[in-house]
């Protein structure tokens, strides 16, 4: 029964547009970072660099999808990095033994399994996702260590398909886009236009209300964490295709950046708010930022300090303009 404001100044108009499309300022920021990079290293903004940047942003964005999806429900998946690593290591070591297709399937089994365990803990035992996924991450690492002892002499080989996705290019752009574009469309569509996507937001916004509406949250959470495990597993396969060197800690270093990408992208860590499009831009921003800092000739300490400070500044500005508090 209150009256909406009738007259709107141009500034307010712009503010409103930004508020309704929070990806715009992120894209602007990305452009600014690229411009800064080009200023520091003239000529770096070329097809090859763009391709590489996208290629490395894709696995980050995929792992950050795990964070976005779980964060929408107020959760988090700290095991995603380990899951990706496990899948990557398993596929590389099994391919020489059982061939590519079988190895891919076998590599995704532990990923789904860890997702199921996470879902069981979070959905049914009501363990806090932070602690649950931390625990499964530990268990996963331990199992991987045990596993690797049995495959020391099998050598390693990346299935051709993922090598194609990871290292090939089409018109200068990385082939990883063949996997990522459908994936991103599916996630974007799924979050907006499917019942499951809506329920993720609903659970994060108010679990009690969701229960009251007849939703069995454990079903949603089980499905969610299993799905997220699968996504992390696929990310691992793609990542090992890109890096072509399986290691026992391959994707672990993507873990914290994946959380950062989701957060920079405007997903609320408390749930109920966020979008995957923001996350994708967030992943690109982090990747460009990484390049920027790598190429700056400053001490390593200063580099990390700047990395943290910039993440914080971006998120703070973003929270201001989209008025999340």
């Amino acid at each position: 029964m209150a009256t909406p404001v009738e007259t709107i100044s141009p500034l307010q108009y712009v503010t409103r547009i930004i508020r309704e499309n929070p990806v715009i300022p992120l894209i602007l920021l990305l452009c600014a970072l690229v411009a800064l990079l080009e200023g520091l290293q003239p000529g770096i903004f070329n097809e090859r660099w763009v391709g590489n940047t996208i290629r490395f942003a894709i696995p980050l964005a995929m792992l950050a999808a795990c964070q976005t999806l779980t964060m929408l429900t107020g959760g988090i998946d700290l095991s995603a990095g380990v899951v990706a690593t496990v899948s990557a290591f398993v596929v590389a070591t099994l391919t020489p033994l059982v061939g590519g297709p079988a190895a891919i399937v076998l590599a995704l089994v532990p990923a789904v399994l860890m997702g199921l365990v996470n879902g069981f803990g979070v959905g049914i035992c009501r363990v806090h996702p932070l602690i649950m996924t931390l625990g499964t991450g530990l268990i996963g690492t331990g199992c991987l260590q045990v596993y690797q002892r049995y495959v020391i002499n099998t050598g390693s080989e990346i299935p051709g398909f993922f090598e194609f996705l990871g290292t090939g290019r089409t018109f200068g752009m990385p082939n990883a886009l063949y996997l990522f574009v459908p994936f991103a469309i599916l996630i974007l569509w799924g979050l907006r236009r499917t019942g499951f996507g809506r329920l993720l937001y609903a659970l994060g916004a108010n679990e009690n209300a969701t229960r009251l509406s007849g939703v069995r949250s454990w079903q949603v959470l089980m499905a969610l964490y299993t799905l997220v495990g699968l996504i992390a597993g696929i990310t691992g396969l793609l990542y090992v295709g890109i890096i072509r060197a399986p290691s026992l800690s391959l994707a672990n270093s993507l873990m914290l950046p994946s959380v950062a990408a989701a957060v920079i992208g405007g997903t609320s860590i408390f749930g109920g708010r966020g979008s995957y499009s923001g996350t994708i831009v967030g992943a690109l921003i982090l990747t460009v930022l990484g390049t920027l800092l790598t190429l700056l000739q400053i001490p390593e300490g200063a580099r990390r300090l700047l990395f943290g400070a910039i993440i914080l500044a971006v998120t703070a500005v973003y929270v201001r303009i989209t008025d999340q508090s």
Partner: protein, 318 residues
């Protein structure tokens, strides 16, 4: 007489360390003198290693083989161990506690040897990309000293870019691709063991290859022999030093302590330019080995196990 030997290691999940553990197990089994191994193997810091060593003291082991987190941080526990009559052998890196035996890869020499070869290779003139390990790690710091020493000998050589890979394959690859994309020319790459992904990056992005220095990891040694146009050198840094540590510990337990408490294992350099280096590389090929594992799976005069035994990675009682 059968002994129990404790092991303490603070980095989990990289091929080099896994090889070290397997070498320890294989050597312990092969020696026939070890009844059981007590291994503390996890990611932790010096304080955590203090805990592990003290736990091993509690377990009453006869000797401890330790890969120290850093040369000074664990002295207290090492002293406690030697005071309790336990033989302590530090492998890979030295500890400054004088009661311990040291059987160490010479990290400073590692850095120096590769850098010197690289600078000579590019004719003492030009710029190189310097890809270090993990910031703040003492092995990285030692290698840096060696690198800087070589750099001082070649005034014509500049460091075009210094980066920390954190000993992570993905970091290293992304960093070199970024640098390649800048288009700034450079003449060589020194890596701290994140090497095969660097070669891959050159090949994938069709960049002209420059001389690359890496470690004797199976993947990189394979590339040295097979990648067209690659000029490079592998500096040995055997993970099997762990096995050598077991041998040394057993010798001491049996009463054959060496005269000098410190034994430095000098690194070798195998380049694919000289005939001698080529021969070494050809001999060292092992395509079946995990690409992160160093190919030098044994150390002459110290280890007695076979390649099959280290790959089986079985210790006494397993």
């Amino acid at each position: 007489q059968e002994y129990t030997i404790g092991v303490s290691n603070t980095v989990q999940g990289n091929g080099w360390r896994e090889e070290m553990i397997c070498a320890i197990k294989a050597q312990a089994l092969d020696s026939g003198l070890v009844s059981s191994l007590n291994i503390a193997h996890r990611n932790t810091d010096a304080a955590g290693q203090l805990e592990d060593i003290r736990n091993l003291i509690q377990a009453g082991v006869d000797a401890i083989v330790v890969n120290p987190a850093n040369p000074e941080g664990i002295n207290a526990a090492v002293k406690e161990a030697t005071d309790a009559g336990i033989i302590v052998v530090a492998v890979d890196q030295a500890v400054t506690e004088p009661s311990a035996y040291v059987l160490s890869n010479n990290q400073e020499e590692y850095g120096y040897l590769g850098a010197k070869w690289l600078f000579e290779q590019i004719g003492g003139e030009g710029s190189v990309v310097y890809m270090r390990g993990a910031a703040g790690a003492s092995a990285d710091d030692d290698r840096d000293k060696g690198f800087k020493r070589a750099l001082a000998e070649f005034p014509g050589v500049k460091v075009a870019q210094e980066v920390f890979t954190g000993w992570q394959q993905d970091q290293g690859k992304q960093q070199i691709l970024d640098y390649l994309a800048t288009g700034i020319p450079f003449d060589g790459v020194w890596t701290s063991g994140i090497d095969n992904v660097i070669v891959d990056a050159f090949v994938e992005s069709d960049a002209p290859l420059v001389p690359i220095v890496g470690a004797d990891n199976a993947g990189f040694v394979g590339q040295l022999a097979s990648v067209d146009g690659l000029v490079g050198a592998a500096v040995t840094n055997p993970g099997s030093i762990g096995g050598a540590g077991v041998t040394l510990a057993l010798q001491i337990l049996e009463g054959n302590a060496p005269a000098d408490k410190t034994v430095l294992v000098a690194p070798e350099l195998w380049d694919n330019v000289s005939d001698e280096g080529k021969a070494k590389i050809a001999e060292a090929q092992n395509p079946n080995l995990d690409p992160e594992w160093p190919v030098s799976v044994s150390i002459p005069d110290f280890t007695t196990y076979t390649t099959e035994e280290i790959i089986a990675c079985k210790g006494p009682g397993e």
